[in-house]
């Protein structure tokens, strides 16, 4: 897994690539926490390059969702491949997360 961070004013974009599992989710969590500490909003995770994600990846994203809520910020997801979208459905999470269709839309204030 690889995470690249881009700053767009108060908005932060995390571009995630590869496989998110118990081995790699701690690194994703580090990146998310960094943005949470700065109260970034919207905090956007682009998952277009994610070929695999499991429950530990979902847990990390749910944590971030609770994190932004604490300072009234927004977390948005974008670029979900069909298999990833399916995982969110299986986990009953599609209505809980703010899932956008394009990066530009996800980065709007």
């Amino acid at each position: 897994m690889n995470v690249v961070r881009e700053d767009h004013g108060t908005a932060v974009l995390l571009v995630v690539d590869g496989q998110v599992d118990m081995h790699t989710s701690p690194e994703l969590r580090r990146h998310l926490r960094g943005a949470l500490e700065q109260q970034s909003s919207p905090l956007v995770a682009d998952l277009a390059g994610v070929s695999f994600i499991d429950s530990s990846g979902l847990a990390t994203l749910i944590e971030a969702l609770q994190g932004v809520a604490r300072y009234g910020g927004k977390l948005r997801l974008v670029g979900l491949a069909p298999a990833v979208k399916n995982l969110f459905q299986l986990s009953n999470l599609t209505s809980i997360f703010d899932i956008r269709e394009s990066r530009a839309e996800a980065l709007e204030p």
Binding site: Q19, M22, H23, D54, S55, A59, L65, A83, S91, N92
Partner: protein, 157 residues
């Protein structure tokens, strides 16, 4: 055993999460040999990842140098994996998925395992640990399509 007639691939690996991609590659390839579609192979790999992650996290408490055995059995149309650990036996009643309504990190693994596989079963093994058996049948032959003989219509009713 110097012969292997049984279409079984056996793997022993350390309980280090760095091996999870290797396990997925292995699982996806065996499921493909059994005839599953690329989508189904991915879902099976997710179910197996959840099972192994639980052994690493809960069974072995995060210790990365314990042993985990995988027995992959994939004749045409079915995929079966036994995940054997050398920890202690876990009461299956203590392993339960949480209600999905409560949105909180964690507690999704067992739910995803059950959602992706047809059968999820925990048994005590000969080494004192737990063996988790996951089974998936190909969509063409749904295991629930056959009525159970005599049930609901037998003499007793």
């Amino acid at each position: 055993m110097t012969s292997n007639n049984s279409d079984v691939v056996e793997v022993a690996l350390p309980s280090d999460p760095k091996y999870l991609p290797l396990v997925r590659a292995l699982v996806e390839q065996s499921a493909e040999v059994a005839g599953f579609s690329a989508d189904e192979c991915q879902r099976i790999a997710l179910g197996v990842t959840e099972g192994i992650t639980n052994v690493m996290r809960h069974g072995y408490g995060g210790c990365t140098h314990r042993r985990i055995d995988l027995l992959l059995h994939a004749p045409t149309g079915t995929f079966r994996i036994d995940i054997r650990d050398y920890g202690r036996f876990v009461d299956p009643d203590r392993i339960r998925s949480r209600p999905l309504e409560a949105v909180r990190p964690g507690g999704l693994g067992v739910h995803l395992m059950k959602a992706t596989m047809d059968s999820v079963e925990y048994k005590r093994n000969d080494h004192g640990g737990t063996t988790l058996t996951l089974i998936k049948h190909m969509a063409a032959t749904p295991p629930t399509a056959r009525p159970l003989r005599g049930e609901g219509e037998g003499e007793g009713q």
